[in-house]
Symmetry: C2
Subunit: 135 residues, 2 copies
């Protein structure tokens, strides 16, 4: 029984061909962020017979199960990446579309401090820096 097989069982999802294929695509595209359309295109390229609706449904389930993380960069479609537990934020280079991941414990600490000052608890956050190459 493969690892992906186990990952799916662990989160209570039936092990089906579409789910395995989609999870596999996301794992091998590690480093990139994939939109539902990107995943669907990859499936088509592999000659797989999976509907776009299934891609959306599976991505939503994976996200709910904590297997993947969803991000919304400004406009454009939502993108996903495998959630390795290492939280990070993103820098999007608007010149070439390259996405750099980063993490700042200091920023996170400041966020907590600000939330505390307002009497609330943070349950999630979204930080994206839009950048350009320095001339």
């Amino acid at each position: 029984m493969s690892e992906e097989n186990l990952e799916l069982r662990k989160v209570g999802l039936k092990v089906t061909a579409p789910r395995l294929k989609i999870l596999h695509i996301l794992e091998e595209s590690s480093g990139h962020h994939m939109s539902a359309e990107d995943v669907y295109r990859k499936l088509m390229e592999s000659g797989e017979d999976v509907g776009i609706a299934t891609v959306y449904r599976v991505l939503t389930q994976f996200e709910g199960a904590g297997l993947i993380a969803r991000h919304n960069f400004d406009n454009g479609p939502a993108v996903y990446e495998v959630d390795r537990g290492d939280h990070h934020d993103h820098m999007v280079n608007v010149d070439n579309g390259v996405v750099i991941e980063f993490h700042s414990a200091e920023i996170e600490a400041l966020q907590e401090k600000i939330a505390a000052e307002n009497g609330v608890d943070i349950i999630g956050h979204n930080l994206v820096l839009y950048v350009k190459d320095r001339k």
Copy 2:
């Protein structure tokens, strides 16, 4: 000549009824964030005859002119607010939808530092904290 009238001229936009009305709605709803649909609904309530397409076009123009700022909170439609030049980020209370604005010079400084470390310049950023009331 009204102030709004001047604001429009200053950014090179013709002074038309739809633009004045939309700018007015945004200014009097200060504090809230308005989606295109929200603005359109207000126009309808006032018996104004403005198309939703015009609302979208005008909001886009206002944003380009720096009169207003656009935000994308997770899912849902884009929302706008008058840009008073005071940059700030947002905390969205997921329990009641309340949006709190905040600003942290420390966080901004850290962002600049991180960008510098990666050899890029920040041209914009997006920071939203999703929070809950503390129990």
